[in-house]
C-alpha cells in the first residue's frame, strides 16, 4: 500500500489538467474542446476546478463579452468571482469573519450574480450556471425560498446534478439557517430519486457527517447510533456498494465520504473496501473536518488502520 494521497481533482479526472492547461494558455477554444464532450455533471465539475485558477477574470470577461451566449464561459467567470470572494471570506464560520471581509465577500458574489443572471436569461437549461447561482445564493444568504427555486431550476435542467446538490445540501444545514430535518429528508429523497448505483447515496452520508460535525461531543457515537448507521449502510447499498456503481463523475467524492463515515463508525472492512476502490485518490472534503484538518494525513492514517484490519482478518 502506497503512502500517496492525491486530493486534486486532476488526479481523478484527466480532463481537469487539460482544461487548466488550456486556460493557462488563454485558449478558450481549447477549453471548449475539453468541456464540450463532457456530460453536464462533468462540465460543472471541470468548470469549478478550472475556475479556481488565479487572475482569470479579465480573460473570462473578454470571452463572455465576445459571445454572451457562451454560458460555459459565463459559468466559469461566475464561479471564478465566487471563488475570489470566498477566499477573502476564508472558510471560517461566520463569527470569525470580520465585517470588512464580509463586505468584500458579498461584493464579489454580487459581481458573480450579475454575470450569472444574464447567463441564465440566455440559457436557463445550462446546469453549470445554476450550480454557481446556488453557491452565490448561499454566500449572499438570499433566503431558503430563492435557493430552493434555483435548485428546482437546476433539477428541471438536469436531475441528479451532484455539484448543485452539494451546494443545496450545505444550504440546508443549520449553519446556513437550514435544519437537520429538512436536510436529512431531502438527502434521502434525492438518493431514492436517483437510479440505483448512482452517486447520490453520498448525499445521505454527507448529511450525517455535517450533523455529526455540529455535535459538541465530537465522538463517533452519533454515526454509530443504530438509525444513522442503518441509513448510511442503505445509502452504500444504493451507491458505492451497488454493482452498477461506476467511475462516473463524482465517484471519488462518494467513495471518499463513505470511507470516512465507515472509518468513524469503526466498520473497518467497509472502510477498507472504499480505500481499495479509491487507491491513491481522495478528497479534501470531508476529510479536512478531522483532527488537524490535513486531509492527506487523515486519509493516510485511516487507510493504514483499515488495511491492518484487512490483513488481520
Amino acid at each position: 500500500m502506497s503512502d500517496t494521497v492525491l486530493l486534486d481533482a486532476a488526479a481523478a479526472y484527466p480532463e481537469v489538467a487539460a482544461v487548466r492547461r488550456a486556460l493557462r494558455a488563454r485558449d478558450w477554444s481549447a477549453v471548449r474542446a475539453v468541456l464540450d464532450p463532457a456530460s453536464p455533471v462533468g462540465r460543472s465539475i471541470l468548470i469549478r476546478a478550472a475556475a479556481d485558477g488565479d487572475s482569470l477574470e479579465d480573460f473570462l470577461r473578454s470571452v463572455v463579452s465576445s459571445d454572451p451566449d457562451d454560458t460555459m464561459a459565463v459559468a466559469m467567470l461566475g464561479m471564478h468571482l465566487i471563488n475570489v470572494g470566498w477566499k477573502i471570506r476564508s472558510g471560517y464560520r461566520a463569527q470569525y469573519v470580520s465585517g470588512g471581509q464580509f463586505a468584500a465577500f458579498h461584493d464579489w458574489l454580487r459581481k458573480a450574480e450579475i454575470v450569472l443572471l444574464d447567463g441564465v436569461a440566455r440559457r436557463p437549461s445550462d446546469p453549470a450556471l445554476w450550480v454557481a447561482r446556488l453557491t452565490s445564493a448561499r454566500g449572499l444568504e438570499l433566503g431558503l425560498s430563492e435557493t430552493r427555486r434555483r435548485y428546482q431550476k437546476l433539477a428541471a435542467a438536469d436531475p441528479h446534478h451532484l455539484p448543485g446538490q452539494n451546494q443545496y445540501l450545505q444550504r440546508l444545514c443549520p449553519k446556513w439557517s437550514g435544519s437537520w430535518e429538512l436536510l436529512h429528508t431531502w438527502c434521502r429523497a434525492e438518493m431514492l430519486a436517483a437510479p440505483p448505483g448512482a452517486v447520490q447515496g453520498v448525499l445521505v452520508v454527507d448529511g450525517h457527517i455535517e450533523h455529526w460535525l455540529e455535535l459538541e461531543s465530537g465522538g463517533p457515537a452519533y454515526l454509530r447510533s443504530r438509525p444513522v448507521r442503518q441509513e448510511i449502510e442503505e445509502a452504500a447499498q444504493r451507491s458505492v456498494s451497488h454493482p452498477d456503481f461506476g467511475r462516473d463523475w463524482g465517484w471519488v467524492q462518494a467513495a471518499s465520504s463513505f470511507a470516512m463515515a465507515f472509518s468513524l463508525i469503526g466498520d473497518k472492512a467497509a472502510a477498507a473496501a472504499m480505500f481499495r476502490m479509491l487507491g491513491d485518490l481522495g478528497t479534501e472534503i470531508p476529510w479536512q473536518y478531522l483532527g488537524d484538518g490535513n486531509a492527506a494525513n487523515q486519509i493516510r492514517d485511516y487507510r493504514r488502520r483499515a488495511a491492518r484490519h484487512g490483513k488481520a482478518a
Partner: protein, 568 residues
C-alpha cells in the same frame, strides 16, 4: 372612425357607437400638477363642479387622476347637454359655500380608500413633487382658499386645456361648453429622487413590485403584455409562488409610459418571487422574446381595439392623448402599428426598461444589480442644536438653510429651499416634507427648548408651504418616552429632584419606621392604652411604607431620569 370637431373653442372627438350614447369632458390637470402644499385642490374642484349637478337621475361621475380630470356621463342627448353645461357653469362660478363641507367629504373619501401599489413606487421614484404627489394624502386641503380655487380654475379649467368626446351620432344640440379662455398646460416634467437606476427599496411583505419608464410605442405596449404572460407562467403556473402576477401600462406626459409589474407572495416565499421576477426581466432584456408570445399578445390587443372601437371605448384614450399633445389615431392605424411590432423591438424596450427599473420587495434586490435607493439625507444642516428629552442619542438641528434630525443610524434633512410642505398643529407640532420625500417631524414636547425651535422654524418657512391643521387630541401629542430601566440617563434637573427626594424620604422613613417598631415592641410589655398605641403604630407603619416608595422613586429618578416603569 373618429371625427374631430370644435365646440366653443373646445376640441371635440366624435365617434359612433353601437351601445348607449356617452360623453366626457376632460381637462389636462391632475395630482401631478399639485404642489404638495396644495394637494387635493383638483379633486376639490371636481367635487364642487359636480355638486350643482346634484341628484340627477342619469348616470354620471367625475374622476381626478394623475394628469387628467374628467367629467363623464351616459344617457339621453338632453341629459348630456344639461350635465356638461352644468359642469362648465359650476367651474365658472364654483359654489364656494360648499367649500368646507366638500373638504369634509374628501377627508371621508380618503379615509375609506386603500393605497394602490403604484403609490410607493411613485414616491420613491419622484419624491414629493409632480408624479410623486399621488402617494400622499390630500394634505393641502385645510389651507386651500377660495382664491386658490379660482386661480387653479383660471389656469387649468379653460377651453384651451379641455377636450370633449362624444360617443354617438352627432354633437348634441344646445351644448355651450362656456369655459374661460386660457392656454394648454403640458404635463409637468417628471423629477427624480433616484440618483441611479436600476434601484430598489424595501416594501411591505406580500408584494413584489417593479416599474420602469420607457418611451411610448406600440412595442412598449406589447412588451407590457408579454411580460405579464411570462410572469404568470413563471410565478403562478410553473412554481405556484404567486396568485396574482400582472402588469400595467400608464402613459406619462406626451411620449413616455410607466410599465409596472406586480406579483403577490406569501411572506416566506417573497425571496423566490423576487428571484423569479428578476429572471423574467433579465430574460427579456437579453433578447429572449418568444415570437409566439408577441403574436399572441398582438392578436389579443387588436381584438380589444376592435371591440373598443365598436362601443366608442377608444374615445377617452384618444381624447386624453390629444390633451397630452398626441395626434388622434384611428383604430386601423393603431392595429397596423401593432402588427409591425417584432420580438427584437420588444427586446429593445425590455433593455431600456431594465435600465430605468425600480424594484420594491420585502428583501433586498441589490444582488441583482439594483442600487439601494437613498433613505436618508446626505448631510445635516448647521445651526442650533436642540436635544431630545430622555434621549441622549438624537438631536434636532435648526439652521438658516433648514432642519435636520440626527439620530444614531438615521439622518433626515429638509432644506427650506427644497421644502414642499409644512404641516402645523396648534400645539407646536410641525411636519416638514422635502422635495425628495424626506420628512422631518418637530415635536416641541419632546425637545429641550422645543418652543424656541418651533419659533425659529416658523420664521424661516417660505410662504405658501404652511398648512395649519386642526388641534390634535391630547393623546396624539407625543410625550417623552418613559425610560424602561437602566438604559436611560438622568438630566441635571432629574438628578437634583432625585437627591432632594432622598433627603426628604430617608429621615422620614427611618424616624417613623423606628418609632413604629418601638411601639409594636412596647405592645408586648405594656398593654395599657392598647387601642391608642396600636393605632399610632399602624400610622407609623403606613408613613414608613410611603417613605419606601418615595425613596425608590427618587433613587430611580436620580439614576435614570424618569419615573419607575409602570407594570402592566
Amino acid at each position: 372612425m373618429i371625427k374631430q370637431l370644435e365646440v366653443a373653442g373646445v376640441p371635440v372627438l366624435l365617434a359612433p357607437t353601437t351601445g348607449p350614447a356617452h360623453a366626457g369632458l376632460a381637462f389636462r390637470v391632475g395630482f401631478a400638477d399639485e404642489p404638495l402644499a396644495k394637494r387635493g385642490i383638483t379633486h376639490l374642484i371636481e367635487h364642487l363642479a359636480l355638486h350643482s349637478v346634484g341628484v340627477a337621475d342619469y348616470h354620471y361621475n367625475g374622476a381626478t387622476g394623475v394628469e387628467f380630470t374628467r367629467f363623464h356621463m351616459q344617457g339621453a342627448e338632453a341629459d348630456v347637454v344639461t350635465f356638461l353645461n352644468g359642469v362648465c357653469a359650476a367651474l365658472r362660478d364654483l359654489p364656494m359655500r360648499r367649500l368646507e363641507v366638500e373638504k369634509e367629504v374628501l377627508a371621508a373619501e380618503s379615509h375609506g380608500r386603500s393605497a394602490a401599489v403604484a403609490e410607493p413606487m411613485s414616491l420613491w421614484r419622484y419624491g414629493a413633487r409632480d408624479y410623486g404627489t399621488i402617494a400622499y394624502p390630500e394634505w393641502g386641503l385645510p389651507a386651500i382658499t377660495e382664491d386658490d380655487l379660482r386661480a387653479w380654475v383660471a389656469r387649468y379649467f379653460t377651453r384651451e386645456n379641455a377636450v370633449l368626446w362624444v360617443a354617438g351620432d352627432e354633437v348634441p344640440a344646445g351644448l355651450e361648453l362656456d369655459l374661460p379662455p386660457g392656454a394648454r398646460q403640458p404635463a409637468p416634467a417628471p423629477s427624480s429622487a433616484l440618483p441611479v437606476t436600476p434601484a430598489c427599496f424595501a416594501g411591505d411583505s406580500g408584494l413584489v413590485v417593479w416599474d420602469a419608464v420607457v418611451p411610448r410605442s406600440p412595442a412598449a405596449y406589447v412588451y407590457a403584455d408579454v411580460l405579464e404572460r411570462m410572469l404568470f407562467r413563471e410565478l403562478r403556473q410553473e412554481s405556484g409562488l404567486s396568485y396574482t402576477a400582472q402588469t400595467d401600462y400608464q402613459p406619462v406626459g406626451r411620449d413616455r409610459v410607466t410599465i409596472l409589474a406586480m406579483a403577490d407572495a406569501m411572506p416566506e416565499k417573497s425571496g423566490a418571487v423576487l428571484g423569479g421576477m428578476v429572471d423574467v426581466l433579465a430574460t427579456l432584456r437579453a433578447g429572449r422574446v418568444d415570437p409566439a408570445d408577441v403574436t399572441a399578445v398582438v392578436n389579443k390587443q387588436v381584438e380589444a381595439l376592435r371591440l373598443a372601437e365598436e362601443v366608442g371605448a377608444r374615445l377617452p384614450g384618444q381624447a386624453l392623448g390629444l390633451l397630452a399633445g398626441r395626434p388622434v389615431q384611428d383604430a386601423g392605424e393603431q392595429i397596423a402599428a401593432l402588427h409591425t411590432v417584432t420580438a427584437a423591438e420588444v427586446a429593445e424596450v425590455a433593455a431600456e426598461a431594465w435600465r430605468t427599473g425600480l424594484m420594491m420587495s420585502p428583501g433586498r434586490a441589490d444582488w441583482a444589480g439594483f442600487a439601494l435607493a437613498p433613505q436618508t439625507s446626505e448631510r445635516a444642516v448647521t445651526g442650533t442644536e436642540f436635544r431630545y428629552l430622555g434621549d441622549s442619542t438624537s438631536r434636532l438641528m435648526v439652521g438658516p438653510e433648514g432642519v435636520s434630525v440626527v439620530e444614531e443610524e438615521n439622518l433626515a434633512t429638509v432644506r427650506y429651499d427644497e421644502c414642499v410642505l409644512v404641516r402645523a398643529w396648534p400645539d407646536g407640532g410641525r411636519q416638514l416634507v422635502g422635495a425628495d420625500g424626506i420628512v422631518v417631524r418637530v415635536e416641541p414636547t419632546l425637545l429641550k427648548g422645543g418652543p424656541a425651535a418651533v419659533g425659529r422654524i416658523d420664521a424661516a418657512i417660505p410662504p405658501g408651504l404652511r398648512v395649519d391643521e386642526p388641534a390634535r387630541n391630547p393623546g396624539q401629542i407625543p410625550k417623552p418616552r418613559a425610560k424602561a430601566g437602566p438604559a436611560g440617563t438622568a438630566s441635571h434637573s432629574d438628578k437634583v429632584a432625585g437627591i432632594m427626594g432622598l433627603i426628604l424620604w430617608w429621615p422620614v422613613t427611618l424616624v417613623f419606621g423606628g418609632l413604629g417598631a418601638l411601639l409594636f415592641l412596647s405592645l408586648l410589655t405594656d398593654t395599657e392604652d392598647l387601642a391608642y398605641t396600636l393605632s399610632v403604630a399602624v400610622l407609623c407603619a403606613l408613613v414608613t411604607a410611603l417613605g419606601v416608595v418615595g425613596i425608590r422613586r427618587s433613587h430611580h429618578r436620580m439614576r435614570y431620569g424618569a419615573r419607575p416603569p409602570k407594570r402592566r
